[in-house]
């Protein structure tokens, strides 16, 4: 296990560097931030002055070595838009995103596994039909619909929760509920599918034949085996949340990393884009390592 972790850490560090290089050069292909930062009426002199101040006049390769040099000292540079260190802006936003992602994915995982396995127990039954139907609708509906309709119903008409913002526990209810829906539907379907296969597979039958009568033991046994694809898809969905829940952040005014990243990409604020990708990538890499360890825990035949 120790050597696995060591190797993975090294390999992940290499891909992190590759990612930074890739993003650095590719993002510069998308245009010059000068014309976005300054008003369209700005004179050519102020444009030149802006480029000079932010080092945009240097050849790309020089800019790159500057950047890498600073990065080695863990300095991500200053944001062009915000005149503060890019990493500060990113970390401040990432804390919110991380909380949102962890809470949502925990709820989703529990709910999807419970509902999904119950649905699989009686394929084609009423519970299965209802669960499948509603989870599919929820997971294929545009999320801004759900968000805005939820605000109109629960805040404006009923007055139960605040429309948006942060501050109290109540502010979290709508964003989390809206975020919950899509991954819940997807993961529920995966749990249901894998459980159907697992419950009809040879070893569950063997267990039955051997006289294991206790339903819950069969259930847990099957569940453990059905978990591999479930864990993978949970990882995929969690990664999407770690990259930021843009719609929810935008609608509910949640200061997360998704909105920050979108704004920075659209405004060509390269230092923030890079810092944001770096931070989320580290989180995603760590999560993938945990998932790979989880595979081995779930199925002892898998070794690294």
């Amino acid at each position: 296990m120790k050597s696995f972790l060591g190797k993975r850490a090294v390999a992940s560090a290499i891909s992190l560097i590759a990612l930074v290089i890739l993003v650095f050069f590719l993002s510069r292909l998308t245009g010059d931030p000068t014309s976005l930062y300054l008003p369209v009426d700005a004179s050519l002199e102020s444009r030149a002055q802006f480029r000079e101040l932010h080092g945009l006049n240097d050849p790309l390769i020089v800019q790159f070595f500057h950047y890498i040099g600073d990065l080695a000292r863990f300095d991500f540079g200053d944001s062009i838009r915000r005149s503060e260190p890019a990493l500060d802006a990113v970390l401040r936003a990432f804390v919110w995103t991380l909380q949102l992602a962890v809470i949502t994915m925990t709820l989703v995982t529990i709910a999807a596994i419970v509902v999904g396995s119950l649905a699989a127990f009686r394929v084609g039954g009423l519970f299965d039909r209802i669960a499948t139907f509603f989870s599919l609708i929820g997971s294929s509906a545009p999320d801004f619909w759900i968000a805005i309709v939820a605000i109109v119903i629960f805040s404006v008409n009923l007055g139960w929760v605040p429309t948006s913002g942060t501050g109290t526990v109540w502010h979290w209810i709508l964003p989390i509920s809206v975020l919950f829906i899509r991954p819940f539907g997807l993961i529920l379907q995966i749990v249901r599918g894998s459980m159907i296969s697992a419950l009809s597979s040879a070893y569950v039958k063997t267990a039955r034949a051997k006289g294991v009568r206790n339903k819950s033991i069969i259930f847990i046994h099957a569940l453990r085996n059905a978990m591999l694809p479930v864990v993978t898809v949970i990882g995929d969905q969690a990664a999407a949340l770690l990259n930021g829940a843009v719609v929810v952040e935008t609608v509910f005014g949640f200061p997360g990393v998704g909105k920050l990243m979108i704004d920075s990409i659209l405004q060509r604020d390269f230092t923030v884009v890079l810092a944001a990708i770096f931070v989320t990538a580290v989180a995603i890499f760590v999560m993938n390592i945990l998932i790979d360890i989880l595979y081995a825990v779930l199925d002892p035949r898998i070794r690294y």
């Binding site: 998308t30 245009g31 014309s35 976005l36 930062y37 300054l38 008003p39 369209v40 009426d41 700005a42 004179s43 050519l44 002199e45 102020s46 002055q49 802006f50 101040l53 838009r81 915000r82 005149s83 503060e84 802006a89 401040r92 936003a93 919110w96 805005i148 605000i151 109109v152 805040s155 404006v156 007055g159 605040p162 429309t163 948006s164 913002g165 942060t166 501050g167 109290t168 526990v169 109540w170 935008t250 609608v251 509910f252 005014g253 200061p255 909105k259 659209l266 060509r268």
Partner: protein, 501 residues
């Protein structure tokens, strides 16, 4: 936890009893359309920064009041000393929110900082490009400002200059703005809110609003909902679709003009008949009250009608597709390549319903016989088409753009949009260049007349572009407030002007 629940209960109460929970204490919540990147006074020409900082925190030397003209603010009077120099007498007994006294050195420092090399300030880049400003502090409350080349409207330009203390660093943006305004900047919880509170030692009248909280929501429907539930008091900018409650929603001219910049150099657009046809082919009236708000005005000039020198005698082009076809046929008979494909370029999310507007325009042009295609671009790409240098092999282009001039004088628009050297100009007409130069140098009634002539020439003779609309914006205001938005609401929101009913 009990505290949190208490606040929630208060919010709940507010939703049911229409905000009465806040009414006594003079606090106000304003919801802006986007988070502020910086809170630097020299960037206050950006709408949302201006709505927080301008005249609330940092005041200007002079102030342009809608309907009244240029008024004193930190200056009490000014006079033209000749040779490009203006002398400003400054107000005495004014202090900054950090306690220091306001004097002429602060103005000199603010000018140097805003137009300096060490930081790029939007106010400097937008209003003071192409001129050199030198200051001479005569005494504590008198300052001479000299512009090279001479600026007849220097006092008006000074209505954009936010004054900061002389101690403000030259080479970095401030995190906590300090100014002479009626409010202090208390805190900025990035991502969540900005808080201001009223000062005791403000030189002017004490405002009714004692504290103000700014929130940020990008979605217009949410901003409207927040005012409806009492979570916010003012949403300065909501979409036409969300302005559904006549009791709370106000429309105001937002100083924006929408037009199509025509590339006058490239055939077939270099032929005046083709440009006229472009104007006759658009049914401008069909937009108003449908895709665009009621109250939208048909434009005959680049600046809003309240600007000096706006030519009110000009009539918008009527919708006359037959005439457009006729003009096109005439041009074609003379060998103008009218069949060339013209690209109509739009900017996504430029204003509410821009996409619908562009699709409707496209159809009108196709119906009139133009060979045209529509391309929508996000701002970063759109700017490459809108601003010089233009691409060499671009082909004929019409670029949709929205231009904002709330500063009362066409000089802020005409050079950029029409001069041969102007960065967004599609024209290269020596006559226009001369007229702009003459009007810029003139003063008083002569200046007004020269601008007026220029508007007439551009609209009637040169038909340089396709002028479309003077736009309106919508604000939603809680009914407990005594406040009506004006043309200035697009760039500032003076808390001191807001009262409670």
């Amino acid at each position: 936890m009990t505290h949190k629940l208490g606040r929630f209960a208060a919010a709940l109460l507010a939703t049911t009893i229409a905000g009465s929970a806040f009414a006594q204490d003079g606090s106000l919540t304003i919801v802006l359309s986007e988070e502020l990147d910086v809170v630097e006074p020299c960037m206050a020409s950006r709408s949302n920064i201006g709505r927080v900082v301008l005249q609330n925190i940092a005041e200007t030397v002079t102030e342009l009041v809608p309907g009244e003209g240029l008024k004193p603010r930190l200056a009490t009077s000014w006079e033209d000393m000749g040779g490009g120099t203006w002398r400003f007498k400054l107000r005495e007994g004014v202090s900054f929110s950090d306690g220091s006294t306001f004097d002429a050195n602060d103005v000199a420092h603010s000018i140097a900082r805003t137009t300096g090399e060490a930081i790029v300030c939007e106010i400097g880049a937008k209003f003071f490009g192409g001129m050199a400003l030198t200051t001479d502090v005569v005494d504590d409350y008198t300052i001479d400002i000299t512009a090279d080349p001479a600026q007849p409207i220097l006092p008006l330009l000074m209505s954009t200059m936010a004054v900061v203390p002389a101690e403000t660093p030259m080479d970095s943006f401030v995190k906590t703005p300090i100014g002479t305004g009626p409010y202090t900047f208390d805190e900025y919880n990035v991502g969540q809110n900005i808080k201001l509170s009223a000062r005791d030692d403000y030189w002017g009248d004490a405002p009714a609003v004692t504290t103000a909280t700014y929130l940020f929501r990008s979605d217009s429907a949410v901003r409207a909902a927040m005012v409806a539930t009492g979570e916010a008091d003012i949403a300065p900018n909501i979409a036409l679709q969300d302005a559904t409650d006549a009791g709370m929603d106000f429309s105001y001219p937002n100083s924006e003009t929408v037009y199509l910049r025509v590339d006058n150099e490239t055939p077939p657009l270099n032929d005046v008949r083709v440009r006229k046809a472009l104007n006759y082919a658009v049914d401008r009236e069909a937009f108003v009250g449908t895709i665009l708000a009621n109250g939208t005005l048909l434009a005959t000039g680049m600046t809003p009608p309240s600007t000096i020198g706006y030519n009110h005698d000009l009539k918008p082009f009527p919708y006359d597709p037959a005439k457009a076809k006729e003009l096109l046929a005439e041009a074609k008979a003379d060998g103008v390549p009218t069949d060339t494909k013209i690209t109509l370029i739009g900017r996504t999310n430029n204003f509410g319903n821009v996409l619908e507007t562009m699709e409707a325009l496209l159809q009108m042009y196709q119906d009139a016989g133009f060979n045209m295609e529509l391309k929508m671009y996000e701002v970063a790409e759109w700017v490459d088409f809108y601003s010089k240098p233009f691409a060499e092999d671009r082909g004929p282009q019409l670029v949709e753009a929205q231009h904002d001039n709330a500063n009362g004088d066409p000089v802020f628009s005409m050079y950029f949009k029409y001069h041969t050297e102007g960065l967004q100009s599609g024209a290269a007409d020596p006559k226009i260049d001369e007229m702009i130069a003459a009007a810029t140098a003139a003063t008083g009634a002569e200046r007004e007349q020269l601008w007026s002539d220029l508007f007439a020439y551009i609209h009637g003779e040169s038909v340089t572009d396709v002028l479309l609309f003077h736009m309106v914006g919508f604000s939603r205001v809680n009914t407990r407030l005594d406040f009506e938005p004006t043309i200035k609401t697009n760039s500032e929101l003076q808390l001191a002007q807001i009262g409670f009913k």
